[in-house]
Symmetry: C2
Subunit: 746 residues, 2 copies
């Protein structure tokens, strides 16, 4: 037996942790999250950290997540199966943190291995982004005088979705030690302070153990752990909510010991035959037959296939190269390409923040990456919205509207899950963003069939909501009152430009698609009308509201697009007086009350609109608006920097674009800032991809362009940029150097 041999160990695929540090340990847990779409595990140490209790219960109440001080400064385990969700007493439905299955406790003469407490040296930990393997190796000078070298490798199989594999190699360096190994499954975890498990069943076998939980969401999750090693692991340890297979090995100078664990996780949500235990056992048996190296090789092949369609190469900028690869890694990891019953949670299934829920980010920030690298995954994301249309219908009804209203925060049912009313009630643009995303998808992929079979139903139902949500004013215009736009620092504005424009787009699209279907497929059109009870009056109203949707404007010749009709009525603020420490979020330096009455944007709002509706604004208008809004934008939202960077790059303002590139990269890659602690800013990962592709490479969006045209403006130092992409059914690659783009068919 030997450790698996991994391949492609290229430095610019390596995320490295320089060594245990209480200030960064939780950051590395987040950024080193592993997964395969189906399941995800944060990069916690196998043995945990003694100082950090993982089953602490507390009342976590609704609050602004961005501004909240988090518990667990050192470590928070996280094992997630998107779709396995349950109600939290204060926070609505959330993704449940599952039992931690990499749990492996080592003890030598009563000393428990701990990265914080033990004498550790020669430490190296690497997440290889090319194959998602997490490797850790270090020397442990035990208190009893023995010295050991420990090497861990672990991954979650990309092609065997229920399987995870971990290996531990112990070498004797000097002295001798009896190492007790407890390897098991630990359900002593909580999700945002709450215990979602209504029952825990534990089982022990000669060569392993299993643990099954039932959740308060009504699901069953079974985890089976099987050990392969030259030692007896039939010892049982049953401690509170955990179960371990226990064994002891004698390590002397130069002896080597290898333990391989095959771990299977199955749930009753899986659309598969047979009982949970039968399925999990089959996974384990097949894995043992194949052996660790074959499992790795298959896994590596699956990753290679993904990377070949998505890998962006940047010559001359190692930091940007690593950052875009980390972003692509997490985007590919986070998406379940096979299951449209889940989408991508706002923290990329790498933490408990935002509760694993789905926001507008999926459609606006992440979707473009998938459109051009994995159209099937893109389609799945939109199918998720189709499958949750009934939830959206119920949302509309609960607010007193006909039609469908997508949730500001959605879980698997589509029902509104946001516990803070100002967002849930007033940040309504998500419903129109989904329409935009559908059109974007069709433009990029040519998949017209999606619109006919699924999209149009969404369009009709959401249009029914919009025409009732809009109020007609004295001038015959339709208004959207009490709206929170993308800028969440103004919760109740009048005619938010972004929202109104998006709603007009959505209604126009509904009318156009109805007309097109009627013309092309009159029978299908009649069937659809009948099925949804669509009346001609409704169609007329869709058009009337679209044609008369109010879009705020200024009449002073300044070309400033008002964020909302009442935007200029808010107070000016002296940022220097309030925001003294710029390393903190602006929002933490001001009371919400004060924040809600001043012109201080959380994020791009008008500029976001200019990005999505680029052709509607001249460069001059964009430039003026950039100059007006950027200085009053705090970029407290991680969605902001990429948008500003793209606009700046397109305007040729490269110094600013590069400043925003830095900011985008820092959001998750700066270990000192620690942005990835609570999970990956997965929308920003999509943002970085857009910044490179739309911003620096200058690809004209598929929504507004028939052919793939690039107008590159590369940052200083970027010698060559290579981007593979799909474009309306074609598989292409662009290579850019000296600001010249060469397009190649793949």
């Amino acid at each position: 037996m030997q450790m698996i041999v991994t391949k492609d160990n290229l430095e610019d695929f390596y995320l490295k942790d320089p060594g245990y540090d209480p200030a960064t340990s939780k950051y590395y847990e987040g950024i080193m999250t592993q997964g395969n779409g189906y399941m995800h595990v944060r990069g916690s140490y196998d043995e945990g950290l003694i100082a950090e209790k993982q089953d602490l219960e507390y009342d976590r109440k609704p609050a602004n997540v961005t501004l909240e001080v988090q518990r667990f400064p050192l470590s928070k385990w996280g094992t997630f199966v998107p779709g396995v969700v349950g109600p939290h007493p204060f926070l609505m439905t959330e993704m449940i943190n599952q039992p931690y299955f990499f749990d492996t406790v080592l003890t030598v003469d009563g000393e428990r291995l701990d990265m914080a407490e033990s004498r550790i040296s020669d430490y190296e930990r690497i997440l290889n982004l090319s194959d998602g393997v997490l490797t850790r190796s270090f020397r442990w000078d035990c208190r009893n005088g023995a010295a050991l070298r420990l090497t861990y490798k672990r991954f979650i199989s990309m092609d065997r979705k229920h399987l995870a594999l971990s290996q531990l190699m112990i070498k004797g360096l000097s002295g001798s030690a009896r190492v007790q190994i407890d390897a098991g499954i630990n359900a002593g975890v909580r999700t945002n302070g709450f215990d979602h498990f209504t029952s825990i069943r534990k089982n022990q076998r000669q060569t392993g153990c299993s643990l099954e939980v039932e959740t308060n969401g009504g699901n069953k999750v079974l985890i089976v752990s099987e050990i392969e090693a030259d030692a007896d692991f039939s010892g049982k340890k049953d401690i509170n909510d955990a179960i371990y297979s226990s064994g002891t090995v004698e390590i002397n100078e130069n002896t080597e010991f290898l333990m391989t664990r095959y771990i299977a996780l199955c749930t009753d949500r899986d659309q598969e035959e047979d009982s949970l235990s039968f399925r999990a056992r089959s996974v384990i048996e097949e894995a043992r037959r194949a052996g660790a190296q074959t499992i790795y090789d298959d896994h590596k092949t699956a990753w290679e296939k993904r990377w070949s369609a998505s890998d962006i190469r940047i010559k001359g900028d190692h930091r940007a190269q690593l950052a875009i690869r980390a972003s692509i890694y997490h985007l590919m990891r986070a998406a379940d390409r096979e299951d449209p019953r889940v989408a991508i949670g706002a923290k990329g299934h790498a933490g408990e923040a935002y509760f694993g829920r789905y926001f507008w980010d999926t459609e606006i920030n992440m979707l473009p990456f998938f459109l051009h690298t994995d159209p099937e995954a893109a389609r799945n994301l939109l199918m998720f919205r189709y499958l949750t249309l009934d939830g959206a219908r119920e949302n509309a009804k609960s607010y007193g509207y006909p039609g469908a209203r997508y949730a500001w925060e959605s879980s698997v049912s589509g029902h509104e899950e946001c516990a803070c009313w100002q967002y849930a009630d007033h940040e309504i643009h998500v419903t129109a963003d989904i329409a935009y995303a559908m059109k974007n998808y069709i433009s990029a992929t040519g998949d017209e069939e999606f619109m006919e079979n699924f999209g149009l139903e969404i369009l009709i139902e959401t249009s029914r909501y919009w025409v009732k949500r809009a109020d007609k004013n004295r001038n015959g215009e339709y208004e959207l009152l009490a709206v929170m736009g993308p800028d969440e620092y103004l919760p109740m504005t009048r005619n938010n430009y972004y929202t109104n424009r998006m709603v007009k787009f959505s209604l126009d699209l509904t009318c156009a698609e109805l007309e097109s279907l009627e013309e092309k497929e009159p029978l299908k059109y009649r069937v659809l009308k009948e099925r949804l009870g669509l009346k001609d009056d409704e169609k007329k109203l869709f058009k009337e509201v679209a044609d008369n949707m109010r879009l705020p404007k200024t009449d002073d010749g300044s070309d400033i697009v008002p964020q909302s009709d009442d935007f200029f009525d808010y107070a000016d603020i002296d940022f220097d007086e309030v925001w003294k420490d710029r390393s903190k979020c602006f929002g933490t330096c001001i009371s919400q009350e004060h924040n809600y009455r001043v012109k201080a944007l959380k994020q791009a709002d008008v500029l976001e609109n200019m990005l999505l509706f680029g052709p509607e604004f001249t460069d001059e208008v964009k430039s003026k608006n950039y100059d007006y809004y950027e200085p009053i934008t705090t970029h407290d939202s991680s969605l902001s920097a990429a948008v500003h960077g793209i606009i700046a790059a397109r305007l040729g303002r490269m110094d600013e674009a590069e400043k925003f590139l830095d900011k985008v990269i820092d959001i998750d890659m700066d270990e000192a800032a620690g942005g990835a602690k609570e999970g990956i800013h997965i929308a920003n990962c999509g943002g970085l991809w857009q910044l490179i592709v739309y911003g620096f490479a200058g690809l004209g969006p598929a929504m507004w362009n028939e052919s793939a045209d690039f107008k590159p403006m590369l940052p200083a130092g970027w010698e060559e940029l290579e981007i593979p992409f799909f474009w309306k059914g074609r598989s292409l690659k662009v290579v850019i150097s000296d600001n010249k783009a060469v397009l190649i068919e793949r």
Copy 2:
């Protein structure tokens, strides 16, 4: 021994409960609340209701109390000592429901007396408003064949503040029964679903028992119960959180049995010497020496004194007569005249709703009653604000402001306790309302000393807050943005007229009082300036902001005072489409989201301002604004009807005024509507007083009038109206008939 003999049994002082009915039992608990300022007990049956568990625990989360569906449909005990408060896990600091000390369980041959289950007839229950005695009498046909007449009397002594007294008389009518009586103290109560007691100590003596709780607010409350009866009550029953003295009496035809209970309640908040147990014992011993009749006589004398200063007599309208007496009764009961560390909670200490907290209602709705009937109690209410000024300072600081900002919902510390941010953050007018109330107090009483010693400090500190809270606009005006006015259905408006006018008043008053003190008492002025670090620049700024405070206005000649600068931008609403069932609150028929963007007022806002600043508006302007606002006002708030009634009466629109009089009376007096279930709408009690005194009698407010002038407009059928009142130090009485007022010195 005999039952106490009570006096003055006049029908128009009687609140009568016609008999047990599940639909109204909780209503009568609320409306029949007894108290003496220091402590209060809801009018629950001594024996409770078997079907309603009083110690049910549940998570009550912040919500709009008005629209919430309450638990406990049949009965909710309530025993309150204002000032004894503690933290609730979700609702912030709340008044704690104390152990129920009237608890008396009767059992005959295993049949427990229960108003819902037992065979009860010839039932009468009366709360006599003139002396606060609650009497209940009925025939009980026991299952064992015996028939008994039971008579209960109980009251909370108005002059012995720690003492309550209850009597039970049992007469045999036929057959014979061994009646087991368990009389004790029951700590098995919860406040809004939460157990505030951290410990319970129970004690038993030959003739009684005692129970002491410690609360999670850090207080101790000791209750001692002593029994006087011709029977042995040395039996002990210790059940869960309750303790009872237990005795058995043999009742045969024509035998009479009388039990008297002396109950003392003392807390560690009382500003008294000696230990809790010593003090409680002393109360009991003194009471036993005096005897029940003397205790009643003293109590009655104390009530008589109160009534002589406050009783309004209405000839020709029994319903209005009873309603105003109920209102006056509850106002006098709810106010602790001796302890400025507490004020009057929004439900008059008669229920758990609104958490026993203090709102602007105290100053604006209740204070006028006290100004003119009990100036000392009025002063106490304002002293409460002075004593909580430090809490207000901390509120200001927590929001990033200098000075002091009173809490939208205050408990005893003055800290903000409102758990819903839109009110806590944005309904800021309370801070200015307090300034208005101080001026009102001084105008009505002539107590200038209050302003010098206490009021001016409040004015300076709150002015410091206001000048920072205001934003200067491009025209040099000062604006108040993101404000919820009295109309809570628009949470974030621009320049709410009511609020801006009130703030201007407050700042003007600060400047005027500073100037006056400087002129009259230069030394005191210098000491005050020094003590509060008041700079001349600040004074200038107070004046500048006062002089330039924006007051919204229309330029279209319509004379409509805009509720706020953005009021007309909200959408119109078709009330008939949304509000189909007018027996329900409008707010329950519409989503909050929809409500927050339409012109549908919860309550008087502009009209409230016109009431408080009457001389600033002509009758014509008032009339136009009444016509504009009334049809779009839902009166979902109990503060609304009285204001509308007063304005209508003053405009001579008597049909409308009488309609609002009905509405005001119904709020707590209509047993079918059941408004008093969760406690008394005590602000509406003050509103009814104002409607009669300012509205129908037409007294010109002391704020704007030197002498007491009446311009009566009595409702149809009111033959004579008599009002005693204090006016700037004088004790007067007005008698009105045929719309002529005769003023008499008392």
